[in-house]
């Protein structure tokens, strides 16, 4: 979009910490996803706020959560977002694409490519917090129910974008609240992980 400002994760502070770098990346993704949402609304003439139904399932936030739990939570949500986004882009291209690529398609590609970078960052932070033996969340087996009707598909794609937008913002806020140096904590039981399944 003309005149749109861009954000860079490379701040002036070259000695930025890993959580800060991840937070900056999440900020950037949030900004890019907001732009994508705006472009989508404009393209589809969605003047109404069509839905706020959640697609990502993670444990609710709590003040009792420690750093590792917070990281695990956002990492899990972002992984789900990635799965949803990839499905949405593929399905949208299949059902509604085929024409000329424009600004919307470019922005969609940008978000799609940025999200894995954030997931990588949060994954690194999670590893740093839990140690090599820790279990990272997985989306294997996550079923994505794609609507059959094209309007339902559009509404679903919109929800996916909103999820990415929401979780990128949440990730940014969470990462900013993290201490600059993440100290490894003791290994958690796998049982505890299993309770925080990402499956719906």
């Amino acid at each position: 979009m003309a005149g749109r400002s861009t954000r860079s994760i490379n701040g002036s502070n070259g000695s930025r910490t890993a959580p800060a770098r991840a937070a900056a990346l999440a900020d950037l993704l949030h900004y890019e996803c907001s732009t994508l949402l705006e472009l989508f609304r404009k393209k589809e003439n969605f003047t109404e706020d069509v839905t706020d139904r959640r697609l990502v399932s993670v444990p609710p936030p709590s003040s009792q959560l420690d750093t590792r739990d917070k990281l695990w939570r956002i990492h899990s949500a972002l992984l789900q977002c990635k799965k949803l986004l990839e499905t949405a882009v593929a399905k949208e291209e299949e059902e509604l694409g085929g024409g000329k690529k424009g600004e919307y398609e470019n922005q969609r590609k940008l978000v799609k490519e940025r999200l894995p970078l954030l997931i990588l960052s949060t994954g690194e932070l999670l590893k740093a917090a839990e140690g090599t033996t820790s279990l990272t969340p997985s989306v294997e087996g996550l079923e994505v129910n794609v609507p059959t009707g094209l309007l339902d598909l559009k509404l679903w794609v919109y929800r996916v974008y909103k999820e990415v937008n929401y979780w990128s913002k949440t990730a940014a806020n969470t990462l900013k609240d993290l201490p600059s140096v993440i100290v490894k904590e003791g290994a958690r039981t796998t049982r505890a992980r299993n309770r925080r399944s990402t499956r719906r």
């Binding site: 109404e48 509604l96 024409g99 009707g149 094209l150 309007l151 559009k154 509404l155």
Partner: protein
């Protein structure tokens, strides 16, 4: 908020009316059925086509060919269709069938169908109602709530959507592509809307949204609106002389994209869709392995299909492939280009190939065409040495040319170096026989390689030897100084030729020959510049064996001038000289030389400007007055500042607010101008003269000189003298004439007064006049103090001896002895008779005294020498004379008292105080006093004046030719004296004429 067109109340009313109609119809049917025996249709079956929204209705029996068919929306019992139809009949099974197309999708709401037979006006009973259950039925398990879903329609079509709301959900509005539409309620839960004249949708389709009031759920559908395909320009060709490559244009945008809705292409039933998915490409291609000769292209999408065909022989559709592997072998002036063909079959193909050569230096494009069977190499000639080139090739079939193949990739090469071209040399000489041999720098195209040096030889043609060792100059030096005087010395006055050569790595160029000879200058006529340059014409010169040289340079360049020249072949007789260095306002000398083996000869010379300008400097102007003329002189404008051919000068005179052209001097050689008699009309003043030189471009700013004109005194003196002389001459003539005609003058102006006729007994003796003198016997004309009262006093003329009047003045002894009388010397021009003189007549005195108003000509009032003389100074030394009182009494009793009322004698009246006599004015106050100066100095004076005062200062003479009032000027008395003298002179003159 959508407007719902139907309300439950209206539905009920409507359904009541329909049931009433049913009853009436049923009654009528049973009535007619009783008459005709038509049977009721049986086994009514409904078969919906959801996609096309068609409802196929079939039934058996009925015994008629026409049937009444009624379709209602079940829930609201609204009639959707009620018509008499003629169904198709299956003759074997006897099944009747009729298809109805619904405006709304069939899923929107339940529909009820009934049929009866009709034969004219006779109908059977209605069949049993058959219902097609809609998705708004409570038992419906359909999840989709909006119909139709994902429809594809052509541009301009109409579409009706319906929304089936969940139980308890209220519809707020329906939006199509962001715009709210009008809504119709079809059933309790179903609402519909129709969008007409659809426009082409975007790539992802147009959205229809059913928005409930609580916005908890959203329903909707997408519709794609576009065009059927319309491909263009379908042609097939071959590249390898075996297969066919078909091409076409995709034509208009269908607005339908993707694998499901995009256009699919088929050539001879081969699917070519996959290779043409890119919607950005306007062209599509499809390759067929063999040449079939006939091709059919079918383009289809969900809205329709379009076909194009093509037919051709293979030899007519050959489009060669791109030449590959270009290689070049280059020489200095040419190169050999070869390439490779992908297919061996080209070896027998007659080809025509285009070769495009581009020189790197000037990017000039050279196109050359070659042909031949299996052409794979060409020879490129006429290239330049030491030049970078790039080349590319494309080919086509020589026979049955179809089209050019694509261009090959560019191949670059460089030609070899070669000896330079001969330099273009020339000789420029100053006036002192020094000069320089100059030559033009060789361009890259002329150098044929990097120049290393120039060499100059001085050569004697007669002796065929070099006069001096060659002078080597660096390649950035393009001149060599020469001195013809020195050269002539060591060449024994023989001719000398300078030979100039250029050298590069490939060798030396052929020498340029320049004859080192001076030429005599020629007159240079003017030449006018045109758009094409200076047009030069001359007659062919037989001696110009090697052509001509036209040389040009700044005409006012003094030394070592930058000269330009052009060499022309022999036989040339005209040329237009144009140069980028030409400047406006610069005079150029153009010279034509003939070129021969022996010498150079100046044939002709011209001078001209590319554009004349006004002179750049002003004149040096001086102006001077010469008598009545103004002489303007100026100096010549330097040639270099003229900037055009000087045509003359305009001379202006500026008088402050006017700028007047005095003269146009059309001779530019004139350096002065005389404004004749310019100063004559002016007494004095400052005048500006401006002289402007002008060329064809106009005047320059001019120079102004100021001249202050002095009065032309000589002339004035001359005029005055002339006038005086004329006056003198006139006076002399008048005097002479008067003298000659004095008798006539005397007669005319001073006729003789006849002598009075006296009776004989009139006593002739003189005795005292018995006239009682007036108490005031004095007439005094009031004058300035200095005034000589004598001159203005009434002069009593002696009656007897007029000629000796002067003698009588002051002769008191005479005066006292002789009776005194007043004689009025009348100079009036009126014709009143002059009063006769009565010297001793008291009557005359009485007469004269009886009237205070006397006709008096003061200038002519004279008295005899013995008459009363008003003398203030008893000794006669004073100019103002006042008679003494006793004398006045004694002698002045008959004195003249003009304009004064007679008064009674009084001792103390009219006697001025002794003091008053001391003052001249006071001295005169007792005499005549004009009104202008009369006044009472004091009450005492007034009292002293007594009754005399009212009459003083009031002269009453009306016949006087002299002013009664005195002149206020200081020298009035003197003037009077002069006037009196002149009068005396004239009187004497006239008197001298008396017999």
């Amino acid at each position: 908020m959508a407007h719902l067109s139907l309300t439950p109340t209206s539905k009920l009313i409507s359904s009541g009316f329909v049931w009433l109609l049913w009853i009436v119809l049923g009654f009528s049917t049973s009535h007619t059925h009783a008459d005709t025996g038509l049977t009721v249709p049986q086994r009514v079956t409904l078969s919906p086509n959801w996609g096309t929204q068609e409802l196929s209705i079939s039934w058996l029996g009925g015994g008629a060919t026409t049937f009444d068919l009624i379709i209602l929306r079940t829930e609201f019992n609204e009639t959707v269709f009620y018509e008499t139809v003629t169904p198709t009949v299956n003759k074997v099974s006897g099944l009747h069938q009729w298809t109805w197309t619904s405006v709304n999708p069939l899923e929107c709401t339940s529909l009820s169908v009934k049929i009866r037979s009709r034969d004219g006006h006779t109908t059977s009973e209605w069949s049993q109602t058959e219902t097609l259950q809609g998705n708004d039925h409570p038992n419906s398990e359909q999840r989709v709530k909006v119909f139709p879903q994902d429809k594809v329609l052509p541009v301009g079509a109409n579409i009706t959507f319906c929304c089936i709301m969940d139980e308890g959900m209220v519809l707020d509005k329906i939006k199509y592509d962001g715009n709210t539409t009008s809504v119709t309620r079809l059933s309790r839960r179903t609402y519909s809307t129709t969008v007409s004249n659809l426009v082409a949708s975007r790539q992802s389709g147009s959205n229809m949204l059913c928005l409930p009031e609580d916005r908890e759920k959203l329903y909707g559908a997408v519709v794609f609106v576009g065009y059927p395909p319309l491909p263009i320009d379908f042609k097939c060709e071959t590249h390898d002389l075996r297969s066919a490559v078909c091409q076409w244009g995709k034509g208009r945008d269908t607005h339908l994209y993707g694998s499901k809705r995009g256009t699919r292409y088929f050539v001879n039933n081969r699917d070519c869709s996959e290779v043409n998915k890119d919607v950005g490409q306007k062209e599509a291609t499809c390759t067929l392995d063999t040449w079939e000769g006939n091709w059919t292209l079918v383009a289809k999408n969900l809205l329709g299909q379009y076909s194009l065909t093509d037919t051709a022989e293979l030899s007519h559709r050959v489009c060669p492939v791109v030449p590959d592997l270009l290689s070049v072998v280059a020489d200095a002036w040419n190169a050999s280009l070869s390439w490779h063909w992908k297919y061996d079959s080209y070896s027998s193909l007659a080809l025509v190939c285009q070769v495009e050569i581009t020189a790197t230096e000037d990017e000039k494009l050279i196109k050359r065409v070659f042909s031949g069977v299996g052409l794979r190499s060409v020879f490129l000639s006429d290239l330049y040495p030491d030049e970078h080139y790039s080349v590319k090739v494309r080919c086509g079939a020589q026979q049955n040319f179809w089209k050019w193949g694509n261009w090959s990739k560019l191949s670059s090469f460089k030609t070899k170096t070669y000896v330079p071209d001969t330099p273009d040399a020339w000789l420029w000489l100053n006036t002192d026989n020094t000069g320089k041999v100059v030559w033009k720098p060789l361009t890259r195209r002329q150098s044929h390689g990097k120049l290393t040096q120039y060499e100059v030889f001085l050569w004697s043609p007669e002796e065929n030897r070099a006069l001096a060792p060659a002078v080597t100059l660096p390649p950035n030096n393009w001149s060599m100084p020469v001195n013809l005087t020195e050269i002539a010395f060591f060449s024994n006055n023989g001719s000398v030729v300078a030979k100039v050569t250029a050298r590069n790595d490939a060798g030396s160029s052929p020498p340029a020959r320049v004859h080192l000879t001076s030429v005599e200058p020629l007159a240079a006529p003017r030449i006018v510049y045109t758009d094409q340059g200076f047009p030069l014409f001359w007659e062919n010169n037989a001696n110009a064996t090697c052509g001509y040289v036209v040389e040009w340079l700044d005409a006012f360049c003094p030394q070592d001038c930058p000269v330009e020249w052009i060499k022309l072949p022999a036989g040339t007789t005209n040329v237009s000289i144009e140069s980028a260095t030409f400047q406006p306002g610069v005079r150029y000398n153009l010279s034509l030389y003939s070129c021969s083996l022996d010498a150079r000869e100046l044939l002709k010379r011209w001078q001209g400007y590319t554009q004349e300008l006004v002179p750049s400097v002003a004149l040096t102007l001086s102006a001077s007055q010469q008598n009545a003329d103004i002489l303007l002189t100026w100096k010549e404008i330097p040639l270099v500042n003229r900037r055009g051919f000087l045509l003359g000068y305009n001379i202006y005179n500026s008088t402050g607010y006017q700028f007047k052209l005095l003269e146009n001097v059309s001779d530019p050689e004139t350096m002065s101008y005389t404004a004749k008699d310019f100063a004559k009309g002016f007494t004095k003043g400052t005048f500006k003269f401006t002289v402007k030189a002008y060329t064809a471009a106009g005047e320059n700013t001019g120079t102004t000189a100021t001249v202050t004109i002095e009065p032309y005194t000589d002339w004035l003196i001359l005029e005055i003298l002339t006038s005086l002389g004329l006056v003198t001459l006139l006076l002399a003539i008048v005097t002479f004439t008067c003298y000659k005609k004095r008798k006539w003058v005397k007669k005319a102006f001073y006729p003789d007064i006849p002598e009075p006729k006296l009776p004989s007994d009139w006593p002739r003796t003189r005795g005292p006049l018995d006239v009682k003198p007036s108490p005031h016997s004095m007439v005094c004309v009031v004058e300035t103090p200095e005034y000589d009262c004598i001159k203005e006093m009434l002069v009593a003329i002696p009656e007897e001896d007029e000629d000796d009047a002067g003698q009588g003045i002051g002769d008191e002894s005479v005066d006292t002895d002789e009776p005194t009388s007043l004689r009025y010397y009348n100079q009036m021009v009126d014709e009143r008779p002059i009063r006769p003189r009565f010297p001793d007549s008291s009557a005359s005195s009485i007469s004269s005294m009886s009237s205070a108003h006397t006709d008096v000509t003061y200038t002519g009032i004279q008295t005899s020498g013995s008459s009363l003389v008003l003398q203030l100074d008893p000794q006669g030394s004073s100019e103002c004379h006042q008679p003494q009182l006793d004398r006045s009494v004694s002698y002045g009793g008959g004195g003249y008292r003009p304009q004064m009322q007679p008064r009674a004698p009084s001792d103390d009246m009219g006697l001025p105080s002794p003091e008053s006599f001391l003052e001249p004015q006071a001295a005169c106050s007792g005499g005549y006093k004009p009104q202008g100066s009369w006044q009472l100095d004091s009450p005492v004076d007034a009292a002293e004046m007594g009754s005399l005062a009212p009459s003083l200062g009031s002269p009453t003479s009306v016949a006087s030719t002299q002013f009664l009032l005195p002149d206020g000027e200081e020298n009035t008395g003197e003037k009077r004296q002069l006037s009196s003298s002149a009068a005396s002179w004239l009187t004497n003159l006239l008197s001298s004429t008396k017999p």
